[in-house]
């Protein structure tokens, strides 16, 4: 195992650091060198925290030398979407407008949790402006390119986080998911992604997009890394009123649990419409591997998805009202028009959408009486090209950016925990969602572990670009809608 390969395996890296076989400072230098080489091609890092990372690494190495255990993520470099507060750094949330704000005075709660477990924050990562998008084609900070095809998008809004993990710059990264912003880029970049139950992880210190829908989420290169990182992120936080009063429920010890008794169904109806053939084949492959042929339909998912869109538009417009009055020109153009349009959303629609939210949630929860998990595609297609406006399926043209969240929005709308798994196959990565009942992240991760062991899902293999490729031409940004 070369030192670089540790960057795709957090648990092995941490085990070696804790045992004194590997130095945390070497891991930091390896990650920094890799970012320095690959980021000019991919553009996923917006701020590098080299000195902070080196200082943390020295502390961890010193602790190990004294016989202390720095924690289950000892020496593991990680990056965060740049909407998380990092002490000493201005929180951008992908925007130009927030550049003028003073630096954050403290780290976001989940960063503190990860560093308490020995992980090392190494950088802030690119995203769609204010998390309002699915493509990470950011006018201010550039497009984040898909590591598996530099002409294609990484997905969004946590595109920088997914790309950084896919290119093995860091083994794990944090993102946020309001309508699919972890699950979409995880699928398009071929990595594991997770959006826990609403209220499970603290959002304190994370710049809000739509408070009633925002979740903190994470990316990793394996189910094991996802589970260990997620476990480290759990914990009480009195500063986040949306955090549920639940004791941490570690999932890592449960990964090897029996899955034969799990009742799993594929979702049909809405979750088959619009999907390209490769996407449907990926779901079918997962279903065959776990020998389930059951297929169910959740009625009126079209309404649920539209209700999520209406709530998003109204809340986001209200949040940005002050800057819409005085600084419209400073928004990314696609964000600007969406936010202004949100001002026109009637209150009665938003309130009705919230009622539909409860109705839809209750309906889906009833389906869990007879099932433990559902599987569904994560996106309608593999990664579109940068600037591509439409995707054609069966002779029908669909707007790319508006359609990338079709399959993810219904579940964040009702706060369910979801793990996105990258299905092994030829061509570009494709992801499948595993949807669990509230607070049962363990079930989704257990099934993901089984699929990993069956050889059905795995982090998409990353092909190193030739050493002489130093940069790629600037991409033309599409008019995202």
């Amino acid at each position: 195992m070369t030192i670089g390969t540790y960057l795709s395996d957090a648990v092995t890296m941490a085990t070696s650091v804790r045992a004194g076989r590997l130095l945390a400072r070497d891991m930091v230098e390896t990650a920094l060198a890799r970012i320095g080489r690959l980021d000019p091609l991919i553009n996923c890092v917006t701020s590098l925290l080299a000195e902070r990372a080196r200082a943390t690494a020295i502390r961890i190495d010193a602790a190990v030398a004294k016989g202390s255990d720095p924690g289950p993520l000892a020496g593991v470099p990680f990056g965060v979407k740049n909407l998380f507060d990092i002490a000493g750094l201005t929180t951008l949330a992908g925007s130009k407008i927030l550049r003028e704000r003073p630096p954050a005075t403290d780290d976001a709660s989940v960063i503190k949790h990860l560093e308490a477990a020995g992980a090392i924050l190494i950088g802030a990562l690119n995203m769609d402006e204010f998390a309002y998008g699915f493509s990470t084609e950011n006018e201010h900070y550039g497009v984040t390119r898909n590591p598996h095809d530099l002409t294609r998008i990484a997905g969004g809004s946590s595109g920088g986080s997914a790309a950084a993990v896919a290119a093995h710059m860091v083994p794990v990264a944090l993102g946020s998911d309001t309508n699919g912003s972890v699950r979409v880029p995880a699928a398009l970049c071929g990595v594991f992604g997770m959006k826990p139950t609403f209220g499970r992880l603290s959002r304190s210190g994370a710049h809000a997009f739509v408070s009633s829908l925002d979740h903190v989420g994470l990316f990793a290169g394996s189910v094991r890394d996802l589970a260990v990182t997620y476990d480290a992120m759990q914990g009480a936080d009195p500063t986040d009123p949306a955090l549920a009063e639940r004791a941490p429920e570690p999932v890592y010890p449960t990964l090897a649990g029996d899955t034969n008794e799990l009742r799993v169904a594929s979702l049909g109806g809405w979750f088959e419409e619009h999907a390209g053939p490769g996407v449907l084949e990926a779901v079918a492959r997962v279903a065959r591997a776990i020998q389930t042929s059951e297929r169910i339909v959740i009625p009126r998912t079209d309404v649920a998805r539209s209700a999520a869109a209406c709530i998003t538009a109204a809340e986001a417009a209200a949040r940005h009202l002050v800057n819409l009055r005085s600084r419209q020109q400073d928004f990314d153009h696609s964000t600007r028009y969406r936010l202004i349009a949100g001002l026109a959303m009637p209150a009665v629609v938003t309130l009705h959408a919230q009622r539909i939210r409860r109705w839809y949630r209750d309906q889906v929860l009833r389906l869990f009486d007879d099932h433990d998990l559902f599987i569904a595609p994560a996106t309608i297609c593999a990664a579109p090209r940068i600037g591509e406006a439409t995707v054609r399926h069966g002779g029908r043209a669909l707007p790319v950016r508006a359609s990338l969240g079709l399959y993810t929005q219904p579940f964040s709308f009702i706060g369910l925990p979801v793990v996105t798994v990258p299905v092994i196959g030829a061509g570009l990565p494709i992801g499948v969602q595993i949807i669990a009942p509230p607070w049962r992240e363990d079930l989704a991760l257990r099934l993901a572990t089984r699929l990993e062991r069956l050889g059905v899902v795995a982090c998409h293999p990353f092909t190193e670009p030739p050493a002489d490729v130093q940069s790629v031409p600037p991409a033309t940004l599409g008019n995202a809608s």
Partner: protein, 67 residues
């Protein structure tokens, strides 16, 4: 359902945004209209769905899945 032409929709948008003290430059208006049409299609679908009885509003909270 009545379909408004762009000029009519612009008047409605201006009524709302002016109320919110947001002024939209004329050059931005075509893209705003496009986005409002997309949103109103979602809104129309939402409002076409009748719930049998009015339920409580759930604005999202830690108690979303608690009794």
């Amino acid at each position: 359902m009545t379909t408004l032409v762009d000029a009519e929709l612009e008047q409605l948008i201006r009524l709302v945004t002016t109320t919110a003290a947001v002024d939209i430059p004329p050059t931005f208006m075509p893209a705003v209209i496009d986005n409002v049409r997309i949103l109103m299609a979602h809104a129309a679908l939402v409002m076409s769905f009748s719930l049998a009885e009015a339920s409580d509003i759930d604005a999202g909270s830690a108690s979303m899945f608690e009794p």
